[in-house]
Symmetry: C2
């Protein structure tokens, strides 16, 4: 019986390998090396440990599985297919990497139910997994009771050498160790091959020792190619370690089974081809057709369906008991999981009149967070070590998410911007209603841009609080003064970039950001104060741009402003009007939302026959010509800033009412 079981295990493992080989051959594109090498750990994990329900990929309490080495996506597609997910049929596998298929070249959550995290950019997946584990720990601490537990799952990761070389994973794993995230378990596919060849050309550090330094529990499985027992034992041990995240280095052979290509970079990212596939079949003793899966393999893998159904039923019973005992908490839990915002969540968002004292928009942001906090228990976030500069704290709350206090919702990310963004993504990927936000200086959006892009691509409602948004930063100088950062964020598809011009617009930006659970928002906020406008509007922020001040009749000139420069437009317009000009001021806090409005509205705000238009924004003009065209002008930046008091910088670079008036007159003449 033992031999028979072993043989079935091997058949199962080889099914994963050969599905990968066949799919990649058929598409003539893809990465067979990882799925062939990681098939044993994938099998061990999914068959013996992973608590999931193939018939309900969204079952809340499932274990999360992240393939951080996303290029090995055929491993996931094979496992999803074999364990019975409807999202990946054998036909889908035959459509690997084809237009419109469920099996794209890297795992994408928005294409394939069952894929928990969009991966491909290396190091991001393990960092997202830290976010998933934080979400689980937080919700467990928040909702579970001594006599009733409804949140309880592991987060498993398969990562490769590439993931371990990327700095983002160093940041995230250092924080995971600090936070003692015991239910995070990473399997490190140590195959000693990267694209440039053997890892010894660039990567000879002692990885496990590094993880030990982070505070992780570490293990090493010497033979990950055939020794499934050891993999299983290691996962058992990792599960039993509750106060440390775990990494299991599993030494494998990339492309295991391919007689001529295994253990070479050649099998990393290219199809085996017909001849080598034949040799691989022989080597593995694989007698089946391409895309054929033996019945006994299906029968075995698909026990996952019954197991999953039982798991979910059992959890549903737990939930029912919980609801009975803790109806209030259960209602909140279920509301969050449904992704519903609570009644009146925005009722304390402040509004302002022009008589209210002008504040920095980072300060307005802090007031918004303070007003939202009590009504939105799902709001969770923090700062990359700039809490008292970004003002990302939630007024009235004390303490932070730590190993001993995971119920707290303030996160000290440390000086780790890239990990912060990836962790925020991970919290969003958890799909439990949590609304993640994180702050840093706007200029350091560059440090986390890789993961900000993934927020947008993967449709995650992360809120980025980006303060110190221009040369107004002042003395810290050009390394800290964003010039091109706002335009470069606006260039990212599916991201809302706000630059609110006063208190009302900051409230409006938050209102929209909170509601947008399927795309990220970047709030670009000032260090320095700005006046509150008489005609600004919380609600009109949703239009992206609107007429803030208008003249009688047809304007001769339209001034378009954002953020701290909006008031320059208003002041300049006032003087120009007094001098007899007809000037309109358009506030444009969010270009993306303006673009989404009906053509008629856009035409109303910016009539196409009015060509004398000027934008005023303390950033690169890049992107603004869409509105000012060939005939307009701008008061913007065309070089890096300088170290001097903020007011001096603004003046030296031309951000004065006088200069706006003077350039306006040139345009009008």
């Amino acid at each position: 019986m033992v031999a028979a079981t072993a043989s079935l295990d091997t058949l199962c493992i080889n099914s994963i390998r050969m599905l990968a080989v066949d799919a990649i051959n058929k598409s003539n594109s893809g990465h067979p090396g990882l799925p062939m090498g990681c098939a044993p750990m994938g099998y061990a994990l999914w068959d013996k440990f992973l608590r999931h329900n193939p018939k309900n990929p969204k079952w809340f309490n499932r274990d999360r599985f992240v393939l951080s080495a996303g290029h090995g996506c055929m491993l996931v597609y094979a496992l999803l297919h074999l364990t019975g997910y409807e999202s990946v049929s054998i036909e889908d596998i035959k459509q690997f990497r084809q237009w419109g298929s469920k099996t794209p070249g890297h795992p994408e959550t928005f294409e394939t139910p069952g894929v928990e995290v969009t991966t491909g950019p290396l190091g991001a997946g393990i960092s997202n997994a830290v976010g998933l584990a934080i979400a689980e720990a937080h919700l467990a601490a928040k909702f579970n009771k001594p006599d009733a537990s409804i949140v309880d799952h592991y987060t498993y990761v398969v990562m490769g050498d590439g993931c371990n070389q990327e700095g983002i994973s160093s940041e995230a794993c250092s924080l995971a160790g600090h936070l003692k995230l015991g239910k995070l378990i990473a399997l490190y596919d140590d195959n000693r091959i990267t694209i440039d060849g053997r890892t010894d050309v660039s990567f000879t550090e002692d990885v496990l020792k590094r993880y030990e330094a982070y505070g992780w529990h570490v293990q090493h499985v010497q033979d990950g190619d055939t020794d499934c027992d050891s993999i299983e034992k290691a996962i058992e041990i990792a599960k039993s370690v509750k106060d440390q995240p775990s990494i299991i280095k599993v030494s494998t052979t990339i492309g295991y089974g391919s007689p001529n290509k295994s253990d070479t970079a050649g099998v990393h990212g290219a199809p085996l081809g017909a001849e080598e596939t034949e040799l691989t079949r022989q080597k593995l003793g694989w007698t089946y057709e391409a895309f054929e899966v033996p019945d006994e393999v299906y029968n075995h893998f698909r026990q996952a369906v019954q197991r999953g159904s039982d798991l979910e039923s059992s959890w549903n019973q737990d939930l029912a008991k919980y609801k009975n005992k803790y109806p209030k908490e259960a209602a909140e839990f279920e509301r969050m999981v449904r992704g519903e915002l609570p009644q009146g969540w925005d009722k304390d968002l402040p509004s302002y009149t022009s008589l209210d004292k002008g504040l920095a928009s980072r300060k307005h942001s802090q007031i918004c967070l303070g007003s939202l906090g009590p009504h939105l228990p799902e709001l969770i976030g923090g700062s990359a070590d700039l809490t008292h500069s970004n003002y990302t704290d939630i007024k009235g709350e004390t303490g932070s998410f730590q190993a001993h206090s995971p119920e707290k919702r303030y996160l000290h990310f440390g000086v780790r911007e890239h990990a912060m963004a990836a962790i925020l993504n991970g919290i969003a990927y958890h799909n439990s209603g949590l609304i993640p936000y994180g702050g840093t200086f706007l200029v350091f959006a560059d440090y986390m841009r890789g993961s900000m892009r993934l927020s947008a691509l993967s449709e995650l409602g992360v809120i980025y609080v980006l303060t110190h948004d221009s040369i107004g930063v002042g003395e810290d100088g050009p390394t800290h003064q964003p010039i091109e950062t706002i335009p470069s964020l606006r260039a990212i598809p599916n991201m809302l970039v706000f630059r609110p011009g006063d208190g009302n617009e900051t409230s409006g930006a938050y209102k929209i950001a909170i509601k947008n659970r399927n795309r990220p928002s970047a709030l670009c906020l000032s260090r320095q104060g700005m006046a509150n406008q008489a005609n600004s509007s919380i609600d009109k922020v949703s239009l992206g741009g609107y007429v803030l001040e208008d003249c009688e009749g047809t304007p001769e000139l339209i001034l378009i402003g954002t953020g701290t420069e909006l008031d320059l437009c208003v002041q300049a317009a006032k003087t120009l009007t007094e001098e007899g000009h007809k000037v309109r001021v358009v506030s444009m806090p969010c270009i993306e939302l303006f673009e989404e409005q009906a053509e008629s509205y856009k035409e109303e705000v910016l009539p196409s026959n009015i060509r004398k238009r000027m934008v005023v924004e303390a950033a690169e003009s890049f992107g603004w010509h869409k509105y000012i065209g060939l005939d307009g002008d701008s008061v913007t930046m065309s070089r890096f800033g300088a170290s001097a008091p903020g007011g001096t910088c603004m003046k030296q670079f031309g951000f004065t009412v006088e200069n706006v008036i003077s350039k306006s007159k040139k345009l009008l003449s």
Copy 2:
């Protein structure tokens, strides 16, 4: 005598502290905590070890000093001033953080001679230092002879907790360990405070153990506040370790000397203020006026001037001997240090006719590197583990820069994009004529954008080889397909972004990139093939944009194309011309260079009265309205891509001759 020396040492150290306190008080802005805490290690290093010549900050063989924790810049300004650099007078220190001063809020190479590296963005400085150490090791291996050595210096770094949290430093230091850069010595200011408070809120890893895992030599000085002897001994030991980089953790008290603010986050980034300054004076026994430096301190520190002069003289003698014995090598060394390119360096850059087989521009790039390599020994670079995708190899060369072969010029950076960019910057900062280049996929420019920005800000002639430049990437899908990356690079000031449209334009881009030693170039190159154009030109790339195909008389329509889409414009124009339209095709390989041309030339290429203009580029249209205005149109991307064969993607997203013709006709009608 021992007591007297100790007292003078203390006086010297306190001079650094109080200059920082006074300057920051006067500017009412800055970071006193670090210079007060690091004054002892700064003093020990600069007074006892640093080989430099204050009267010639550019002396080639000087040790390099990098303040990675750039916010502590008053440490450097104080040391530059005290040791006699003319760039930082006491008046300059009084102008700390003011408009036009030599003492900006973070160290900037382009403002202050003696500052080796522009720092502020955390983690970047230590990573630049790895580049400096690589440059030194390479040049030493290349030029030094058993009987004559002309390249021989250390690279010293002061880094903080923030630097150690940033992933970029993890990447760079892992590589430094792999490369066994024995002449890199980092002093880690372990003050256990970051902006959010004590490091124990987010950073409790065992830093030294991590560095041990990287292969570094590690030491710990327990009392960095007063125990200068131990600091000196540790540096001595570090210098003696030749086959490992060294890190010395120096435990200090942030803001040492301030009775109420030391050891708190409050002293990190805010002036002490009058009252606390008075208390600090008392505590330190400092009896001098603000900005007053005791004569004995000047006398002691300024021995550096004579030492430096002697060091340079002695080196000049070594160089003279070397020239005598090795005139050919000496000539090359001196040429490189002068920053001169060799005669005929570009003579083998290939040119093409339309009859030549079309290739991917990444392939053209490989041919360019192969043609430049033999003539430009100063060309040094590699890839972030994508050598055979980026084609960054230099044809005919074998081997790579490794611990045992630093004379080689190919760098395997590993999967470490951010460190790659910082290391390339470091090589450029070395100012020894080396021309650094590095490759990755264009979409992963996001991972290294923080350091790309610093290339531009700090005026470094780094060449970025960014392949796989559009949805043409194909099957790897949207995580790997740049959409917004090209526009977002174009938004960076002082960076040349090239997207060559064929072989000639690729040669032209290299020709300009090599010559531009004071600004970076980003080459955006295709994965897929493209035709060679009949009228493309190597030389016209320097104009940024030029008329590639023209009609008789005044054009009705101008098509603007780049990269793989240029040929779509040419083909569409051909058909439209046959149908009787007057169409001009403008190739625009580099917007930044086009912007630099005379208005008359720009008007010639894009006459302002011709408003029917269409841009064709497989990227976001963001930024192109500067040329197409309100009346033009574009065939561009407005969403993320998809996983499918590249040709399918191109077709599905409208990048076909037919679609260009169809949209052109709409514009013409």
